[in-house]
Amino acid sequence: MAEKIISAQNVDFHYENDPEDKTPPKQVLKNVSLDIERGQFTAILGHNGSGKSTIAKHMNGILLPCGGKVYVDGIDTCDEDRIFDVRQRVGMVFQNPDNQLVATIVEEDVAFALENLGVPTDEMRQRVDDALKSVGMYEYREHSPHQLSGGQKQRIAIAGIIAMRPDCIVLDEPTAMLDPKGRQEVLRTIRKLNHDFGITAVLITHYMEEAAQADRIVVMDNGEILMDDIPKNVFSNVELMKRIGLDVPQVTELMYLLGQSGLPSDTHIISEGECADALALLLKG
């Protein structure tokens, strides 16, 4: 069995209510158990308010469970003394690229975490350069963040995390505010880091095409895990996905519609190539 880098066990979570408010607080996470294996690329889907961002924030101790436990590489995230060990192992990238860059120069921003961790300067230089190269932003190292596009800023944010040499990177809707080009850049970067450097990736997204590229999809609904499977199997549940306010790739939807009209079709198809193959067979045959 592969090694677990993150293990959430029976996690309950709710935000504290106003002391005046006597109604019971709304449960954001209900008994959620989820293991992330080392090297895996997992996508988490769910509509707004499904709890997907909340579970992500548990993965590096930004939020602590009200019930249950979260372990990162065996470390309990509630262990205050080891919180920085947790955060070094699991880095986090957020939605708004502007609100996570601290410094006025790209390379200084990438160095921020290393400066905080007290990494010696020579090693820091090396790690910053490596991180910038791995996201393809090395030539922009002396730029100021506000001169960059959204996709570029997001790649700098990723580099700032990668420089810590984490085991896992959690991305909370990193593409939501980007244009299609920026989205592509960011997704390509995530896949490269996962594939070439073996960094475990957890991607929270609203875009089904992005989720389709993951090894595994976890679907959250109403604070619970509704499905947890490979993308093909998840998207084949077209009706269920639509019912919980999600979508499926257009090609899957087409296969579903064809099936409805009585043609032989397979809703496990999630990529353009597979779809074209299947249709070619159908149309030529």
């Binding site: 707004n48 308010g49 244009d179 609203h206 257009q250 939807e253 087409l254 190539g273 249709l279 070619a280």
Partner: protein, 292 residues
């Protein structure tokens, strides 16, 4: 007479500095009243600059803009009146909300127009209902609402001015699929009820394909084409050529064509794709039958 017309519209930023850039270049455009048009283009293709010209937020470097036949920069036109005629909803409009209650925030535009109170009241209630806000929400503070709700408050704020032209810049950015469909559906419904001319700027070909009658494609500060939606998708190959992402389903049909299957490629929605395939099979059945 077209609702919107531009003649040689050109705008250059930071003239005389090293950052000089022509954002829109010599644009001639006519948009008929009552159409629902999508505007597509890369970031930096000039679409944002173009729409800000249409309600006079930007004054062209050269060229003219006519709204409802009026040259908006002629001396006897008050630019503020143009802004009431052409409502513009910016990207992430929820960040412009400022009033204590949802009601007051939606009423801000109509109030600026100097409308009587009962007319303001009618408009606020009507648009709030249209964008799916419950009556009790109107008395709440907009800052208590969820992101999607705030977005709808902000859009209602512009709709309540009942402009003749409604322009929306990426109204669905950052929303989940359900939220996306909901807002687009409400915009379509508003369009249907009021026969407003609508311009929808979007990065999502899928969204535009589903809702717009016509599509304006911007590329490199110029109009690449402005045609009926099916016509535009007939040129899907060219669109990918200028680096725009056509819907996934369109790419599949382009692929099929390449594989030697004689099928139409102006397919952009899944429903239409299904119909196309069924028709193809039916025709093939007939042909096959004739051959035998």
């Amino acid at each position: 007479m077209p609702m919107i017309k531009t003649e040689g519209l050109t705008y250059t930023y930071s003239i005389g500095t090293p950052f000089e850039k022509t954002a829109v270049n010599n644009i001639d455009l006519e948009i008929e009243e009552g159409t629902f048009s999508g505007i597509i283009g890369h970031t930096g293709s000039g679409k944002s600059t173009l729409i800000q010209h249409l309600n006079g937020l930007i004054r062209p470097t050269s060229g003219k803009v006519f709204i409802d036949g009026e040259d908006i920069w002629s001396k006897d036109v008050k630019i503020r009146d143009i802004r009431f005629k052409v409502g513009l909803v910016f990207q992430y409009p929820e960040y412009q909300i400022f009033e204590e209650t949802v009601y007051k925030d939606i009423a801000f535009g109509p109030k600026n127009m100097g409308l009587p109170d009962d007319e303001i009241d009618r408009r606020v209630k009507e648009t709030a209902e249209l964008v799916g806000l419950k009556p009790e929400t109107l008395d709440k503070s907009p800052f208590e609402l969820s992101g999607g709700q705030k977005r709808r408050v902000a859009i209602a704020g512009v709709m309540a001015m009942e402009p003749k032209v409604l322009i929306l810049d990426e109204p669905t950015a950052g929303l989940d699929p359900k939220g996306r469909d909901k807002i687009l559906g409400q915009i379509k419904e508003y369009h249907r009820q009021k026969n407003t001319t609508v311009l929808l700027v979007s990065h999502s070909m899928e969204d535009v394909a589903k809702f717009a009658d016509k599509i304006l494609v911007m590329n490199k500060a110029q109009v690449f084409c402005y045609e009926d939606t099916p016509e535009v998708f007939k040129r899907a190959d060219e669109l990918t050529g200028i680096g725009l992402s056509v819907p996934q389903i369109t790419r599949v049909f382009l692929d099929l064509k390449k594989r030697g299957i004689d099928i139409r490629t102006d397919v952009y929605t899944t429903e239409f794709a299904k119909k196309t395939i069924l028709e193809y099979l039916e025709n093939k059945g007939k042909r096959g039958g004739a051959d035998a």
